[in-house]
């Protein structure tokens, strides 16, 4: 449908006003909120792909995300009324001893853009806090960020705490950050490592399948 592809395209161009207007138009035409949401997610997914392929950079992704938010705000009450469930629930945070939040925030942004509900625990998050949040929110995925070689070991502490609580089977574990690598993920028993925010979102979706 033209209107829906237009929404996706305008979102990729970062045109917040057009996305809002078109979303409202779609709502007014009586389209289902979940269908409209799909066109927003499609646009954001495409931008993520372009980002991964180095066709666009962070600034363009941010502008697209702003446009997505514009549309989401109009849709949110309808989604709730229709009882549309998020793709999954993610608990996210930067590990203890680490105050870097830019990377973690970008991942959060991309995951919201992929249809997830994201519970953001902020920075300097202790293993206990991670575990409590997973339990309380019945999270599907926990995503951890660390930017320092001195703090990446705390990812292991979180995983141990999760295991201790007997939650390891219920939750998938994703990790990322500058010093983190694929082999480090294997070593500490995380499910996935992703090198950038866009692949974090697509990987999270794969994990939900």
């Amino acid at each position: 449908m033209k209107l829906l592809t237009d929404i996706s395209e305008m979102l990729q161009k970062g045109k917040i006003n057009d996305v809002k207007a078109l979303t409202q138009q779609a709502i007014d035409q009586g389209l289902e909120a979940s269908v409209i949401l799909d066109s927003l997610l499609d646009g954001m997914g495409n931008i993520g792909m372009k980002f991964k392929n180095n066709e666009v950079f962070v600034p363009e992704v941010l502008i697209a995300a702003r446009a997505m938010n514009g549309g989401l705000q109009l849709l949110a009450p309808l989604l709730e009324a229709e009882g549309v469930e998020p793709v999954g629930k993610v608990v996210i945070g930067t590990v203890k001893g680490d105050l870097h939040d830019i990377g973690k925030n970008l991942v959060k942004m991309m995951m919201v853009g992929a249809g997830f509900e994201v519970i953001d625990l902020g920075v300097d998050v202790s293993p206990e806090k991670f575990v409590t949040a997973i339990e309380e929110n019945n999270a599907d995925i926990v995503a951890m960020s660390a930017l320092l070689t001195t703090t990446m070991t705390n990812m292991k502490a979180v995983i141990e705490a999760i295991e201790e609580k007997g939650l390891r089977d219920r939750v998938k574990i994703m990790i990322g950050g500058a010093p983190v690598t694929e082999s480090f993920a294997k070593e500490i028993g995380a499910d996935r490592y992703t090198p950038d925010a866009a692949s974090a979102a697509t990987t999270a979706k794969e994990l939900m399948m």
């Binding site: 962070v58 995300a65 939040d101 925030n105 320092l148």
Partner: protein
């Protein structure tokens, strides 16, 4: 002591650091967002710093470090809170931009702090090492706590470390330097090439420039910088005829190391042998690694020959002042007294008044009168005085220091126009100006002129004070770029000029440099395309005062023509194209070493004359015309310009020898037809014929080497002018010299411009008919 540093944030650097580039569609959005955030958060971005000197404890076994200077800079906790606020309301754009701004503020603050510390340490007779940062190979991250504790022992610093040794607030830095009396001289804060952070977005790479007979120079440039841009910025004389559009293939340089990857496009413009030797096209190379590049010095032939023009009346004369005295009852000033004494009023410059105030009571003294109205100088004894004439050509720059009293050339300085790295012709330079907001083109030409003036003064030991005037000529675009006037509107119809009159400006105002204190006169032009260089050329040759009918031609990038006939003077500019300067010709080049300057057919054997006598590397304009004439005479090319056999004609032997291609011949046909047609249109305008012409003046470097027989053979110059041609050399420079020497030159030039009609050829139907006719040989 807490030091409050400057809040400096560079917008371009900041946006660049978040990969927001000037050509990206969202750049303007981020630019305005940047302004908004700066405005909103100025007070929470203020950087503060601390530094303390302490005994060396941590940096193991280096006894050269007598002291360690521990430093910390922070923007405080408010920035962190503000960023968090932005993120909480999902305003990622502002959150990330504020973070980048804070990083840039920290970066600039650390540079300022370095200077403070450097000066402090130098005062104590010590030297500083490069920056030593915790978390790099030279210092473990755990040393962060030692650095911080050392500062805290002496200062109340609101900085803490997390368990992961991260500074809180996050927009902070802590690092140190070693200091000692026996350290080697190292005036560098940070050395990217030695830094562990190989993926750092701020990382710089080193470009080493090697030149025969010179010490290597190393420049630190941003990772990803374009090689042509770098070479331009450091002032290397690279050819970039197409202004870096990747089409001309002239910005060829050899990379000594490492071997750089070559694109498909480059492969089409450089030979396999050259690629093997490491040649690349600078405009295609974006640098991601340290490189060593070799620059070949190119010695150009620059025409600066001219004869001192004849002068009707002298501009300057010395007048002796003696016995003037003020009577107590009168209210006359010294200036009034001189005016009464000489019977007319004079204008004085401030510097002349200053001298007068010193000399009046030391009579007798001499005043130097200019144009019978102005006082240019005052001295105890008359003596030599000088002027400087400057010709800013599109390709070359020539300065002449003139002894105005004895009317002789003291010395000439010449060099390539440094703007050539921004394009070979005026259009590509205008193009650069319209795409860039910087003042590079003005800066480089003004710098070259300054260097030239310094050298002239030095060589001839002339005092800056003895220079009376500087007269500048050039085509309109060159003059505008030199003066900092935007030339863009000259490049498209209706070819609007900003001003064509004479511009008189103080040297200091024009150059922002007090090397000279006299005025600079930028001479007037006639139209957008008949500039001051041509008007000055006419002035120098006295075309307007001569009896008979004369044609004046200056062939450069454009072919400018002036005809004085039957009591009329008319002019036109033909877009001859840069073919005569070697552009658009496969093996074309300017008059540099290695260019075939002329060719002669000696009984079936072609004799080439190469500039510098070495191996031929290409063909310059006069050589091209000779070769063309030979091809025609030998029947290798028919009268329509078609090569009879095949697609090319070899000029030199060997696999990679010089060749004339069909496309080169076509290019030459277009250029010569334009000039030939321009001449015909002017002749028709004056109702004059070739036979009625008494002479042809050929100006410029091209005219200097032109073989008339060849020029006539290919139809560039009408046959009837064969024995009536006078080579006038750099007549533009000569005209500027006449301006310096002759009384009322300003008025004369004004009248000259007034009396010369400009004929626009681009919409002239007659021109197009003649143009098509003139295409054949």
């Amino acid at each position: 002591m807490m030091i409050s540093l400057l809040l400096t944030c560079n917008k371009a650097e900041t946006l660049d650091s978040m990969q927001c580039y000037i050509n990206s569609p969202s750049y303007s959005i981020y630019e305005s967002l940047f302004d908004e955030i700066m405005e909103e958060n100025r007070d929470i971005l203020q950087p503060f710093a601390y530094y303390v000197m302490t005994e060396n404890q941590v940096i193991n076994n280096n006894e050269l470090y007598e002291q360690i200077v521990c430093c910390a800079i922070t923007l405080g906790a408010e920035v962190d809170r503000k960023m968090q606020n932005y993120f909480e309301v999902d305003d990622y754009m502002k959150g990330i931009l504020l973070s980048s701004i804070a990083d840039n503020v920290l970066f600039h603050a650390s540079k300022e702090l370095y200077q403070l510390i450097y000066n402090d340490v130098r005062k104590q007779n010590m030297m500083l090492t490069k920056r030593i940062e915790p978390g790099t190979s030279s210092l473990p991250i755990t040393a962060q706590s030692w650095v911080l504790e050392s500062i805290k022992e002496q200062e109340a610093v609101a900085l803490t470390l997390t368990s992961g040794y991260m500074l809180n607030p996050t927009k902070s830095m802590a690092y140190c330097y070693g200091a000692g009396r026996n350290l080697i001289y190292t005036p560098i804060d940070h050395d990217c090439s030695q830094c562990d952070h190989v993926h750092c977005i701020h990382r710089k790479i080193n470009v080493t420039i090697q030149k025969l007979g010179e010490v290597d120079r190393v420049y630190s440039v941003k990772n990803g910088s374009n090689l042509l841009t770098v070479l331009r910025e450091v002032g290397e004389p690279i050819h970039a005829n197409c202004s870096g559009n990747g089409t001309c293939g002239k910005c060829k340089v050899r990379i000594v190391s490492p071997k750089l990857p070559i694109s498909m496009n480059e492969r089409q413009m450089i030979t396999t042998d050259e690629i093997e030797q490491g040649y690349v096209l600078a405009c295609y190379q974006n640098l991601v690694t340290n490189i060593v590049v070799e620059i070949e010095e190119q010695n150009a032939e620059i025409l600066s020959d001219f004869d001192i023009p004849k002068v009707k009346e002298n501009k300057y004369s010395w007048i002796r002042i003696d016995g003037l005295k003020k009577r107590p009852e009168d209210s006359e000033s010294a200036v009034d007294l001189i005016a009464h004494h000489l019977g007319k009023d004079y204008n004085y410059s401030l510097s002349a008044l200053r001298k007068l105030s010193n000399l009046f009571n030391q009579q007798p003294f001499e005043i130097l009168e200019r144009d019978e109205r102005h006082v240019s100088d005052l001295r105890k004894e008359s003596g030599s005085f000088y002027g400087i004439g400057i010709d800013i050509g599109t390709t070359t720059l020539a300065l002449a220091l003139i002894d105005l009293e004895h009317k002789q050339v003291c010395s000439v300085y010449k060099c390539m126009n440094p703007q050539k790295v921004y394009g070979a012709d005026v259009i590509s330079r205008i193009h650069y100006t319209s795409n860039h907001t910087d003042s590079s083109l003005r800066d480089v030409i003004q710098n070259s002129v300054l260097v030239g003036i310094r050298e002239l003064l030095d060589k001839y030991q002339v005092q800056a004070d003895d220079i009376m005037e500087v007269a500048v000529v050039g085509n309109t675009v060159m003059q505008y770029l030199f003066a900092g006037i935007n030339p863009c509107s000259l490049s498209f119809s209706p070819f609007l000029s900003t001003d064509l009159g004479q511009i008189k400006v103080s040297f200091i105002e024009l150059f922002q440099n007090p090397l000279l204190t006299c005025d600079v006169i930028i001479l007037p032009g006639l139209s957008a395309y008949i500039g001051a260089d041509i008007l000055s050329g006419i002035y120098a040759t006295e075309l307007n005062d001569m009896e008979g009918n004369y044609l004046f031609i200056d062939i450069g990038t454009n072919g400018e023509l002036v005809l004085k006939a039957k009591g009329k003077m008319v002019s036109a500019a033909t877009a001859a194209g840069p073919a005569f300067e070697g552009a658009n010709i496969t093996f074309g080049m300017g008059s540099y070493e290695g260019a075939i300057r002329s060719a002669q057919d000696y009984e079936g054997h072609i004799k080439l004359n190469v500039i510098g006598q070495g191996i031929a590397k290409g063909i310059c304009g006069s050589g091209l015309i000779d070769l063309m004439a030979i091809c025609l005479n030998r029947g290798l090319v028919d009268e329509t310009g078609r090569i009879i056999n095949g697609q090319s004609i070899p000029v030199t032997m060997g696999n990679e020898g010089i060749v004339l291609y069909q496309s080169d011949i076509r290019e030459l046909q277009l250029a010569k037809a334009a000039i030939a047609a321009g001449i015909e249109v002017l002749l028709l305008e004056c109702d004059c014929t070739v036979d009625e012409l008494d002479g042809l003046f050929l100006a410029g470097g091209f005219g200097h080497h032109l073989n008339m027989e060849s020029a006539i053979r290919i139809g560039l110059i009408p046959e009837g002018l064969k024995n009536k041609t006078r080579i006038v050399g750099n007549s533009a420079l000569a005209g500027s010299v006449r301006y310096l020497l002759e009384r009322n030159a300003e008025e004369s030039l004004k009248q000259l411009a007034h009396g010369c009609k400009y004929i626009e050829l681009s919409n002239n139907i007659m021109f197009y008919d003649k143009y098509i006719e003139g295409m054949n040989f």
